[in-house]
Amino acid sequence: MKYLLILLTTAVFISALELIMVRHNHRLLFTELQTLQQERDTLNEQWGQWQLEQSTLSQPYLIEAAARTRLNMFPPTEINTIIIHR
C-alpha cells in the first residue's frame, strides 16, 4: 500500500514535469510552424507575382512587337514556305 502510494505520487510528479515539457515543445513547434507558414506564404506570393510577370511579358503581343520591330522578323509568306506532303 505504502509503496503504491509512493509510486503513484512519483508518477504524478513525473507526468506533471512531462506536461510542462510537452507544452513547451508545443509552443516551440507552433512558432516554427508559423514561421514556416509565413515563409510559404511569402514564397507563394512571390511565385504568383512572377507568374503574373512572366505571363504579362510573354503575351503574344509583346513577343510579336519585339519580333517585328526589334528583330525585324516577319511571318513566312507563301513564297518562302515549302509544304512537304508525306
Binding site: 504568383g48 507575382q49 512572377w50 507568374q51
Partner: protein, 666 residues
C-alpha cells in the same frame, strides 16, 4: 503547519524549566534577556497574540474563499469575458484559383495585395502623421477626409483597397497605431482586353461577376480558413494560438482557350473593326470535333484589370449574348435540309431566272440573273432565289427540323452566363414568304456561337458537337503546382530578386496599344468603343447543362455523313475564284466557308445603310479541325459585304493558326 506550531507553543510552557536545568548556562546577560522575552511572550502579550493570529486566519480564509470563488464558481463567466475581450477568430483568406489556357498559361491570376484599414478612434490621435500616410497612398489630405467622412464612429474603415506590394510595404513600415494592413487577393488578367469578355471578371471581393469567372465561380472560389489569435486592448495581435482551419485555395482551372489563337483572332478582329469603322464585331474559333472553344473575341473591348473603367456594355460577350439575323450564312442549312429530303443532290439544277422571285406580295432578288444553276452554284454565288426555291419545295417541317436539330432557337448549353437562345419561329405559323426568307437567313435570329456550332456539325460528318469551355483532355500538363525545389532554386539563385512591380501599374491602366498593325497604331489609342448602351448583360442567368432542351442531345446526329461531306465540298467552291468568299482563300490549305451580308432590321424595316458582315469557315476542308465564325456589326463605307470584310479576317487568322497548330502536331 499551524497545528504543529500551536502544539509546540503550548507544550513549551511546561517543558522549559526542565530544559533550563539541563542545558549549560549561557552568559548572564543573554539569560536575562531570554527570561524577559519569555515572560513578555507568555504573560504580557499572550491574548494579543491570539487575537492577531485569529485575525490572520480570518484574512487568509477570506482570501482563500475569494480565490475559490473566482477560480471555481465564477471560472466559466470570467473565462468567457476574457475570451470575448482578447480572443479573436480571424479568417485566413484563401485565394481564387487560376484560370489557364489549354497549354497551362495563366489567363487570370489572384495575387496577394494589401488593403489599408484604420480604427478611427486611434487614427484620430495621430493626425500629425496623416500627411505622410496620404502621400504614400497617392492622396491629398482632403482625400483622406472624404474616405473617413461620416465614419468616425466605426470600428473598421477601409482607407484604400488593393495596394501594390511596394505601397503596402511602405504603409507597413510606417507602423502607425490604428492603421492596419489586411491581406487580400486581387485578380489580374495578364492578357488584358484580349480575353476580356470571355473570361469576364470578378468584383473587388473576388466573386465572379461575368463570363467564365461567373460560370466557374464555385470551383474557383477557395474556402477561407480561420485562426485564433490573442489581441490586446488596442487590437494589436499579441499571439496566435491555433490554426483552426487551413485555408483551401480554389481550383486552378484549365480552359479550352488557346491564348495564341485568342490573340490572333483579337488582333485581326480589332484591325478590321477599326478599318471599317464598325460598331462592333465578334469572332469564335471552335475545335472540331470536340466543340472546344479555342478563341472567342469581341469588339469593342474593356480592360478587365481596370475596375473603374469596366463598362458592362463593352465587357459583354456579344458572340454569346447577342442574337442577329444570320443572312446568307444560313443557306447551307437550307441545302442540308434539301439533301436530307433525298430530292436534291449537289448537281440538281435550279432555275433562278430572271433573278427574282415573287412570293405573295414580296419580291426576292438576286444581284444578277444567274440562269439555270446547280445547287452547288446556288451556294457559291449565294443566290437568294435559288435558296428560296429550294426551301419552298420542301415541307416547312423538314426545314424547321433541320434548323432545330442544328441548335437554333436553343441555348447552346455551354453554361456561359447570359447565353442567348436566339429565335426560330415554329413552322406551323409560317407563310410562304417566311419559309422563303428563312432560306437565306431572314426571320431567324442566331448568336455567333450557335452559328459556329452548326457549321462545326458540317465538319464533323453531321454530329452537332457540345460546346465546351473546358478542354476535353484536361491532363495535358498536369503538374502546374510549384514544387518546393523550384522555390529553393529560385531563392538560392538570386535572393534579392523582386518581381518588377511596374507590371501592376501597367495592367491597371488601359493599354490600348495591343495591336501589331503599326499603321493603325495611332487610331487605337483614340479608340472610343462605347456606342450603344441599351443592352445589359444578363447577370443572373446561369443556364446549366442540365437545363438544356432534352430533345437536343449532345453530339446528336443532325445530318447524314455523306450529306455533310457533300455540303463541305459545296462550301469549298464558295472560297474558290468565282465564289463570294474568295478572300478567305488560303494557299496550300483547302477552305470551306460561307459569306453573309445582312441588312439590319431597324425601326420596322430593313436598313439600306446598316449591315452585318458574316463569314463562317472550316479548315482544312478535307478533314476539318477548326471552324471560325466572324461577324462585323455595321461596317462603314462601300465594302460592307461579308466576303469583303469578314472573310479576310478568317484568312489572316487561319493562316497563322494552322501554322501554329501544325507545328504542334509534328
Amino acid at each position: 503547519m499551524i497545528h504543529l506550531w500551536w502544539q509546540r507553543k503550548h507544550s513549551r510552557r511546561g517543558a522549559s524549566p526542565r530544559r533550563l536545568t539541563k542545558k549549560p548556562q549561557p552568559p548572564e546577560l543573554w539569560q536575562a534577556t531570554r527570561l524577559w522575552l519569555r515572560r513578555s511572550q507568555t504573560a504580557l502579550f499572550g491574548a494579543r497574540r491570539q487575537w492577531l493570529l485569529g485575525l490572520l486566519v480570518v484574512i487568509l480564509s477570506v482570501l482563500l474563499g475569494r480565490a475559490v470563488f473566482l477560480q471555481v464558481i465564477q471560472q466559466d463567466f470570467l473565462q468567457k469575458q476574457w475570451e470575448a475581450r482578447h480572443l479573436r477568430k480571424l479568417p485566413v483568406p484563401a485565394h481564387r484559383g487560376m484560370l489557364m489556357d489549354r497549354a497551362g498559361e495563366p489567363l487570370a491570376i489572384s495575387t496577394p495585395v494589401g488593403s489599408v484599414w484604420v480604427q478611427p478612434a486611434q487614427f484620430i490621435t495621430i493626425s500629425s502623421q496623416w500627411q505622410t500616410l496620404a502621400q504614400i497612398l497617392g492622396w491629398s489630405l482632403s482625400d483622406l477626409d472624404t474616405a473617413l467622412a461620416g465614419r468616425w464612429q466605426r470600428e473598421f474603415v477601409y482607407l484604400k483597397r488593393h495596394l501594390s506590394p511596394t505601397v503596402a510595404q511602405q504603409v507597413k513600415d510606417l507602423k502607425l497605431p490604428g492603421v492596419f494592413l489586411q491581406r487580400e487577393y486581387r485578380r489580374y488578367y495578364p492578357l488584358g482586353e484580349v480575353t476580356a469578355q470571355v473570361l469576364g471578371f470578378t468584383n473587388i471581393d473576388e466573386v465572379g461577376q461575368e463570363g467564365l469567372e461567373l460560370a466557374l465561380n464555385e470551383p474557383l472560389t477557395g474556402k477561407p480558413g480561420s485562426k485564433q489569435i490573442v489581441q490586446d486592448k488596442q487590437g494589436q495581435i499579441i499571439a496566435q494560438i491555433a490554426n483552426l482551419q487551413a485555408p483551401q485555395p480554389g481550383q486552378n482551372i484549365r480552359l479550352s482557350l488557346d491564348r495564341r489563337l485568342q490573340y490572333l483572332a483579337y488582333r485581326e478582329l480589332k484591325a478590321a473593326v477599326l478599318n471599317s469603322q464598325a460598331k462592333a464585331g465578334a469572332a469564335i474559333i471552335l475545335g472540331i470535333p470536340s466543340g472546344e472553344v479555342l478563341a472567342m473575341v469581341n469588339q469593342p473591348v474593356c480592360n478587365p484589370n481596370n475596375r473603374e473603367r469596366r463598362h458592362s456594355e463593352q465587357c459583354r460577350n456579344r458572340a454569346v449574348t447577342d442574337s442577329l439575323e444570320p443572312g446568307s450564312t444560313f443557306k447551307p442549312f437550307t441545302i442540308a435540309a434539301a439533301l436530307e429530303s433525298g430530292r436534291y443532290t449537289a448537281k440538281t439544277r435550279i432555275d433562278t431566272r430572271p433573278g427574282k422571285l415573287i412570293v405573295g406580295e414580296n419580291q426576292i432578288l438576286d444581284p444578277q440573273n444567274y440562269g439555270i444553276i446547280d445547287v452547288t452554284t446556288v451556294l457559291q454565288k449565294s443566290s437568294n432565289v435559288g435558296a428560296s426555291k429550294i426551301a419552298l419545295s420542301l415541307p416547312p417541317k423538314a426545314l424547321w427540323e433541320m434548323l432545330n436539330k442544328l441548335g437554333f432557337g436553343h441555348r447552346p448549353g455551354s453554361s456561359f452566363p447570359g447565353e442567348e437562345k436566339g429565335l426560330l419561329t415554329s413552322f406551323s405559323n409560317w407563310q410562304p414568304i417566311d419559309q422563303a426568307s428563312l432560306a437565306f437567313g431572314y426571320g431567324a435570329r442566331v448568336t455567333l456561337l450557335q452559328l459556329a456550332r452548326a457549321y462545326a456539325a458540317i465538319g464533323t460528318q453531321g454530329q452537332l458537337p457540345l460546346i465546351r469551355f473546358l478542354p476535353v483532355n484536361p491532363d495535358l500538363n498536369p503538374d502546374l503546382n510549384p514544387d518546393l525545389t523550384t522555390f529553393k532554386k529560385l531563392s538560392n539563385l538570386n535572393p534579392g530578386l523582386n518581381p518588377d512591380l511596374t507590371t501592376f501599374k501597367k495592367l491597371s491602366n488601359l493599354n490600348p496599344d495591343l495591336n501589331p498593325d503599326l499603321t493603325t497604331f495611332e487610331k487605337l489609342s483614340n479608340l472610343n468603343p462605347g456606342l450603344n448602351s441599351d443592352l445589359n448583360p444578363d447577370l443572373t442567368t446561369f443556364e446549366k447543362l442540365s437545363n438544356l432542351n432534352p430533345n437536343l442531345n449532345p453530339n446528336s446526329t443532325v445530318m447524314q455523313p455523306e450529306n455533310a461531306r457533300s455540303l463541305l465540298n459545296m462550301l469549298e467552291t464558295v472560297v474558290k475564284p468565282g465564289g463570294t468568299g474568295y478572300l478567305a482563300f488560303l494557299p496550300n490549305v483547302r477552305v470551306a466557308g460561307k459569306t453573309g451580308t445582312t441588312r439590319k432590321f431597324i425601326d420596322g424595316q430593313y436598313s439600306e445603310t446598316q449591315y452585318l458582315a458574316w463569314f463562317v469557315g472550316l479548315v482544312p476542308a478535307d478533314a476539318p479541325r477548326l471552324v471560325m465564325a466572324v461577324v462585323i456589326d455595321e461596317p462603314q463605307g462601300d465594302n460592307y459585304y461579308g466576303g469583303k470584310i469578314a472573310a479576310p479576317i478568317f484568312a489572316k487568322v487561319m493562316s497563322d493558326a494552322l501554322r501554329l497548330l501544325n507545328r504542334e502536331t509534328e
